[in-house]
């Protein structure tokens, strides 16, 4: 088993903190699903 070591844990290049990045991803997912749902309804026969 290799020894544990200190690893650089830098902030993200945008939105300053990782929790904000994660929130953005989840909002993005919700938007994608909403768009896909609207797409499905729009083209439903």
């Amino acid at each position: 088993m290799p020894d544990s070591k200190q690893v650089l844990d830098e902030p993200p290049p945008f939105l300053r903190t990782w929790p904000r990045v994660y929130t953005m991803v989840l909002i993005y997912l919700a938007c994608l699903i909403a768009v896909f749902y609207a797409f499905t309804r729009w083209f439903a026969p």
């Binding site: 088993m1 290799p2 020894d3 544990s4 070591k5 200190q6 690893v7 650089l8 844990d9 830098e10 902030p11 993200p12 290049p13 990782w18 990045v21 994660y22 991803v25 989840l26 993005y28 997912l29 994608l32 699903i33 896909f36 749902y37 797409f39 499905t40 729009w42 083209f43 439903a44 026969p45």
Partner: protein, 562 residues
């Protein structure tokens, strides 16, 4: 394929291998060979993760799936962004700080050797079989399309992968994946553009959407819940999230990609990239399939897309009747589709419903004729459950795309197979060396010795995959069983990692026997219920956690607090 296509195909294959060999230079230590010396930037890891996951058969069957069933399959990936967020917050920093080569090393640190050994063996079995399949399945399809024996396509793809993977290790794999994904993206855009451009001049893009929508092919979201339905929003979000957590968090073929990161942040960004890009990419591929469906609404396709099976059934007495019914249904469907477009343009609501009913009746008749042809093909070729879905997109490419583009897209499909296989044999070699050889066979040796073993293990797994795939046709129904293996084991693997990270009071015995209990539950669900496979991951994970917690109540504190 014409001469220019062959030139493009072989030039592309040579470019992949050359670039892999070039970027794999300097992998002279175990750390650089298996972890790229932890130097990889996020975009290289992100594209490599995407390339490893997107096998050739996924690529060609996804378009075929949209052709026959619409775009519902995209829901399979709805849980992926949630899984990525969870892994960024938990697994990525834990694995980085533990400074491990494999995810399974962490389990020994947290639990004990038997848990690590159990999980490593499960991975080697599952991924080892999958490596053979991921080479065999596209090799068969390409052999039919190119008219080569399937052993030739198997050996060609397999030996090229082994060459650059064994030489350059994970650096070669990752950078070759980057190159391949860039061309895959370009080829996808080209394929969609061609599918739309080849529509009759009287059919606009908006008309194509009307026809695809009327045929039920533009249906990416299904909100109706059904345990037995593979693809709906609930199975995608919940079942898909568990599957993706297991795949990206416990499968070494994925974990190894982000362990090569320069930092925790770079590894996180690679997963965030996949969280953002994967669903649109799958939507795009499915949309190509939907547009190919519209193309074949106006251009008559053969009754079967599998060229060899089609030739065989054409000699059968029943074929003439099937072909006549198919041709009549095709003409009726084309006429109904033209009427649908006219009704949409005129905004006639009443006329629309009438024409839609006519269109659906024609589609039903056409599906019935294709079903009869498939049944005849199954009887003639001796292939139970004959299905030509994987040949639809390739048939479109080889018969309708311009010279040169055909070679490029066939080359891209070769690439997808090779990138999936390279990631698999690289991770299998890593687990073999780190979790088996260095742990049980030779605990102390020089770095040079372990590097040589890593290369031999890579070559071994590559040859194994080639041999397995070369005799794939002899395994028959086993192929189907092997395809299920991932879903049978991922729930158990995920459960033990959840115990390790979130349940500090659970000890080694709780984890070990929890995995066994979880696997028993999954096999029971598989054998005695009709629950869709996406839910197996949820069932397995929950049972492992519950069993682990119960067993830990009877463990001595000393065992629990490792």
């Amino acid at each position: 394929m014409r001469t220019l296509d062959w030139v493009v195909l072989f030039a592309w294959l040579a470019a992949i291998v050359s670039y892999g060999l070039y970027r794999g230079r300097g992998s002279g230590t175990v750390d650089s060979y298996l972890r790229a010396g932890k130097t990889m930037p996020w975009y290289a890891m992100g594209l490599s993760i995407m390339a490893t996951q997107a096998s050739a058969i996924t690529f060609i069957s996804t378009t075929g799936q949209a052709y026959v069933d619409g775009m519902r399959f995209v829901q399979f990936y709805f849980g992926l962004p949630i899984a990525m967020v969870i892994l960024c917050a938990t697994a990525v920093p834990i694995f980085h700080r533990a400074n491990v080569y494999t995810a399974y090393e962490y389990l020994e640190n947290r639990f004990d050797t038997k848990t690590r050994a159990l999980v490593s063996v499960v991975f080697l079995i599952q991924r080892g079989l999958a490596a053979g399949i991921s080479l065999y399945a596209p090799a068969v399809v390409l052999s039919v399309i190119l008219g080569w024996p399937d052993r030739i396509t198997t050996i060609l793809m397999g030996s090229l992968v082994v060459l650059y993977t064994a030489f350059g290790g994970i650096k070669a794999v990752t950078w070759a994946d980057v190159q391949q994904m860039m061309v895959i993206f370009a080829a996808l855009i080209l394929a969609l553009g061609m599918a739309i451009a080849l529509l009759p001049s009287s059919v606009s893009f908006a008309d194509a959407l009307t026809v695809a929508g009327a045929a039920g092919r533009l249906n990416p979201v299904t909100v109706k819940f059904d345990w037995n339905d593979r693809y709906n929003i609930f199975s995608g979000l919940i079942g898909g999230m568990f599957l993706m957590l297991a795949y990206f968090g416990t499968d070494q073929s994925q974990v190894q990609r982000y362990l090569t990161g320069k930092s925790i942040g770079q590894s996180r960004l690679s997963l965030i990239f996949n969280a953002m890009a994967k669903i649109p990419m799958q939507f795009f591929i499915l949309f190509i399939g939907a547009m190919v469906f519209v193309f074949f609404t106006f251009e008559k396709a053969p009754v079967l897309f599998h060229p060899v099976a089609l030739k065989q059934i054409q000699t059968q007495p029943k074929y003439a009747g099937i072909e006549a019914r198919y041709s009549a249904a095709f003409e009726q469907r084309r006429s109904a589709a033209e009427s649908l477009i006219a009704a949409k343009r005129s905004g006639s609501g009443a006329g629309w419903q009438q024409v839609l009913t006519r269109y659906r009746a024609a589609q039903h008749d056409l599906d019935a004729a294709r079903g009869e042809a498939a049944t005849l093909a199954a009887a003639t070729t001796g292939t139970a459950g004959f299905n030509d879905t994987n040949y639809i997109f390739l048939s479109f490419i080889t018969h309708y795309l311009p010279v040169g583009v055909v070679g490029l897209i066939i080359g891209v499909i070769f690439s997808a197979a090779m990138s999936a296989m390279s990631g698999e044999i690289n991770s299998l070699a890593t687990v073999t060396m780190v979790d088996v050889y260095r742990r049980y066979v030779r605990k102390t040796a020089t770095d040079r010795h372990y590097l040589a073993v890593s290369k031999i293990a890579t070559a071994f797994w590559g040859l194994y995959a080639i041999v397995f795939a070369s005799y794939g046709s002899g395994f028959g129904a086993l192929i189907e069983a092997v395809n299920m293996i991932g879903s049978l084991f991922y729930g158990g693997l995920l459960g033990v990692f959840v115990l390790a990270v979130f349940f500090k009071r659970v000890g080694a015995n709780g984890a070990f026997f929890g995995v066994l209990a979880g696997e028993a539950a999954i096999f029971a669900a598989k054998l005695f219920t009709s629950i869709s496979f996406l839910w197996f991951n949820v069932i397995g994970c929950v049972v492992v956690i519950a069993a682990g917690l119960v067993i830990s109540l009877f463990e001595r504190p000393a065992v629990r607090t490792r």
